[in-house]
Subunit: 161 residues, 2 copies
DNA sequence: CAAATACCCACGAAAACCCATTGTATCCCG
DNA sequence: CGGGATACAATGGGTTTTCGTGGGTATTTG
């Protein structure tokens, strides 16, 4: 499952009063090269207090992986339940949102809450996916390398000028 | 067997006095992309106390999945019986209902009872299918991951404001 | 005829859409 | 090489459309 186009780079964008955010153009270009959808899938990150985002095709890929796993263990009742749970997490706990012609999404209120995203959204490329952070939360997280925090600090400074 | 369009996302909609419920637009769009039917098939979920729903075309697919399962275990006599049971469940114990121009179905009384659906219906995307829950029942089910219950709680809160 | 269902319209909130402005990086040509 | 023109990105604001929902009326069906 080596994806050809990977998400990379960082940006800090504003969330406006209506809850709209521009998806950085360099991330959008990856989405559109992977498939031609102009939509992103949002999910709570499983480890960090941020959101995880990817293109719809990647979601389908994750799904088929789950399916194949299930078929191997079809007779095992425990596997059935675990499959149900993971499947629900993958699809019920995510939201698919289209971005408009200017590259903005309307951040769904539930996701905004889950990711604790305020007036600014920090976008971080993470290869197969990208992340959306409340920059302050990233700075506070002890698990985040200092070099990465420097990037966040730089993006924040850039704004104030 | 990989379906192109998958059910994703969540919503909490009201069931009115006549027993009508709006199928969330984002689920309807998947149904209409899979085939052009404007109807859904309802069934009792095999594991959870909720309803399972999908487009008519998916019923056929489910049938072939069952068949394949049978072939794998045809030496096992118990499997034969299980196949008969599950096949009946898949076809006799389901109801096909059309939704109107505003996207509402009239929830069949039997299904409403089977799923114990009250004044609110929680819709959960599950990839190939979606589920319809009484939100209170989902919150009580120990097999449901906490993250998913958070979603149910959020949807319930959203309403009260 | 009664009860259930299908059809119709209507409203408020939210979301999608359109247009305009600003700032920044890029290009082009003198 | 410099400076103006150009293209695109991010953002603000207004308008239109859609969605979920309530309620009424017709129509079918047993």
């Amino acid at each position: 499952m080596a994806l050809e186009h990977l998400f990379q780079g960082s940006a800090l964008n504003a969330v406006d009063g209506k809850g709209r955010v521009s998806i950085p153009a360099f991330l959008r270009s990856v989405i559109e090269r992977r498939g031609d959808s102009r939509t992103i899938v949002l999910a709570k990150h499983e480890a960090f207090s941020c959101l995880s985002a990817y293109d719809p095709g990647y979601a389908a890929l994750k799904h088929s992986k789950l399916e194949r796993l299930l078929e191997k263990e079809e007779t095992n009742p425990d596997a059935q339940l675990e499959y149900q749970q993971r499947n629900l997490m993958a699809f019920a706990a995510t939201e698919e949102v289209p971005y408009d012609s200017s590259g903005r999404i309307l951040m769904p209120p539930m996701m905004r809450r889950k990711g604790e995203v305020g007036d600014f959204a920090l976008f971080l490329g993470a290869g197969e996916t990208f992340q959306i952070w409340n920059p302050e939360l990233l700075l506070k997280d002890p698990r985040i390398p200092e070099d990465l925090k420097d990037i966040a600090r730089f993006r924040l400074e850039e704004r104030r000028a």
